[in-house]
Symmetry: C2
Subunit: 109 residues, 2 copies
DNA sequence: AGTGCGTATAACTATATAGTTATATACAGG
DNA sequence: CCTGTATATAACTATATAGTTATACGCACT
């Protein structure tokens, strides 16, 4: 099958999504949400990051569609929007494990 | 199953990989390599990007392990290192199509 | 050796953004 | 209302990097 052509606009949107995953702090936040829904305060505690910083990161993740949220009184509860983030990270981690295995093999020879 | 703990160093490495995919120009280059191996010159032609710019992007993609390369005289031939990049992009595109479908449904109601 | 071509690198500029500090908003309880 | 708490936002600084221009490197050909 011929490769679908991708417009600059589409490439920009895809890149924007990847960019949301391209920061250690945001990956840490997503990791904290893997088990269950959490409030911002719980995320602060789980990650040790600053409050304003986490708030901004959560906006980025929300805009990119990776997390959903609901208000409950003064709290905002955040959760993973779906399982795609986990799949993406697992794919990436799998790649890195393969790399590491190849390196080990190379040096063990 | 309990979530695996990820060290800051691991998160950094994963983020670095995602960052390599977080630029429209690099996605365009990967797209150009989807069909077949290409020289830098061919990539220049396919993408319309500047020579030095493409050379730098190719370094980033190579360092991140997404492309492999071989020298052949004055030419350097680049190719996708494996099919993971395509899977990652397809996963991401699938997400976006779901989003778009949801929006259409919302407004069509 | 000298020339031309393909690719990589250095140096620079402009832009984006992570993190911080300070402040604003919004809700809950007394 | 007033106070405290949870979260979001504004303003700022420091850093990273995309793109460009100029230059260096390496190979092929004569």
């Amino acid at each position: 099958m011929p490769s679908k052509l991708l417009s600059p606009a589409q490439l920009g949107l895809i890149a924007e999504r990847f960019k949301a995953l391209a920061e250690p702090s945001r990956l840490e936040i997503l990791h904290a949400l893997k088990e269950r829904e959490r409030t911002v305060s719980e995320i602060l505690e789980a990650t040790g990051l600053g409050q304003a910083n986490v708030s901004k990161h959560l906006q980025v993740l929300f805009t990119a569609g990776f997390v959903d949220r609901r208000k409950d009184g003064v709290n905002t509860w955040y959760r993973l929007a779906d399982q795609d983030v986990l799949r993406l990270c697992e794919l990436m981690c799998g790649r890195m494990e393969k790399e590491a295995a190849a390196r080990r093999k190379l040096f063990a020879g």
